[in-house]
Subunit: 160 residues, 3 copies
């Protein structure tokens, strides 16, 4: 356990909650502002992550690349309308390298289909984040969603 | 992101957690004390809320009205015994008007049937709350549960 | 609602999150260090707990006994490989006796089978913990997982 001061904890929690809320409220574009411009956003299976295998289903190397992905979701992809509900738990700052905080949290995403209201546990896993404090407040240097189950790999249109 | 001070954050979280715990511990009556006397408690679909449609499945305009509803649950309604487990996530104070704090959080309710132990994701959604600090501590001026899926509209006996 | 100071709240939350993370990251042995040596770890149904019935599916009376149980999981038990994801919510310090804090939180555990990726809501319930501050930081004097549904009693290999 660690001795990181309270204001940082609250700011880091708020950053993580903000990301989730923006997606759940269908303001997905805005999450790219929470990533530093050369930040990285990755969605990868626990199976691969545990074995240090590089394959990931999303791996954006900049905020601009993530923005492109979201634009394609808005204008190019065809999919059944649905939305997410993020449940975040256990935000912990587990280490620090210089000004980079290493943060862990658990996530659970429930997906609801707009048409028939069908609701299911869509994805669970751990967020492995690097957070820096910028003049604009805390931002993600990198965000990695490590999901537990390999069977959710279909239809990931909206980023987690 | 916002600059609301830490003690308020903790007090607001505690208020929201208290509501959930009272219901989960079958002390449902006690939640009415967490609402100011002329407060409002609403349970409404995301579909209606997003379109500013007024229809809601519960819409109590005072703590007394909510108390009546709970009394009818205790003595009048016939239903299969069950209980809830609330999982709350991402409490954020997203704005302030005078002394009213606007608060958002996500919720997930798991319902367990007492008889056969059947357990299911009963409802997910967002809480859109207005909180004021009273001499007795923080209280809800209004609580609105905005649920994600229209198929959970059957059998809402215990308030969320 | 209570007046316990903020640093204690954060330390207690961190202790509870640490337990969950250690199990989810397959460092199960390490949770025994979060229990004082003569601490107690219990997993019991809400049905029994509500009636003050003593039966529990796990009831370790010391950290050493819990360590034995985990060792048997590692070397003796035969089971289909799986892992947990803990979602913790609503940590509240609800009372204090001398230096013992009484803490409540809700938990939800999603279990994922390693082989086929099958994911399910495995257990939900309330944690009823006693926490003390030791020179090494906060530790559990007792941890009680009170689970909601009697049908999850099969196959509890990994402790909650």
């Amino acid at each position: 356990m660690n001795m990181i001061c309270e204001p940082h904890y609250r700011a880091v929690e708020n950053l993580i909650y903000e990301w989730a809320r923006l997606i759940d409220e269908n303001q997905v574009e805005a999450v790219t502002d929470l990533l530093v411009s050369d930040g990285r956003y990755t969605v990868q299976s626990k199976f691969n992550r545990d074995r240090q295998l590089p394959m990931a289903i999303i791996d954006a190397h900049s905020a601009a690349q993530l923005r492109d992905r979201i634009m394609s979701m808005r204008i190019a992809n065809i999919y059944q309308p649905h939305h997410y509900r993020h449940i975040i738990s256990g935000v912990q700052i587990v280490g620090q390298d210089g000004d980079v905080m290493h943060v862990r949290s658990n996530y659970l995403v429930i997906r609801t289909m707009d048409l028939d209201g069908d609701m299911k546990v869509f994805s669970t896993g751990q967020c492995q984040d690097e957070v820096v404090i910028t003049p604009e407040g805390p931002r993600f240097k990198s965000r990695r969603f490590v999901y537990d189950s390999r069977i959710v790999e279909t239809l990931l249109v909206i980023p987690l």
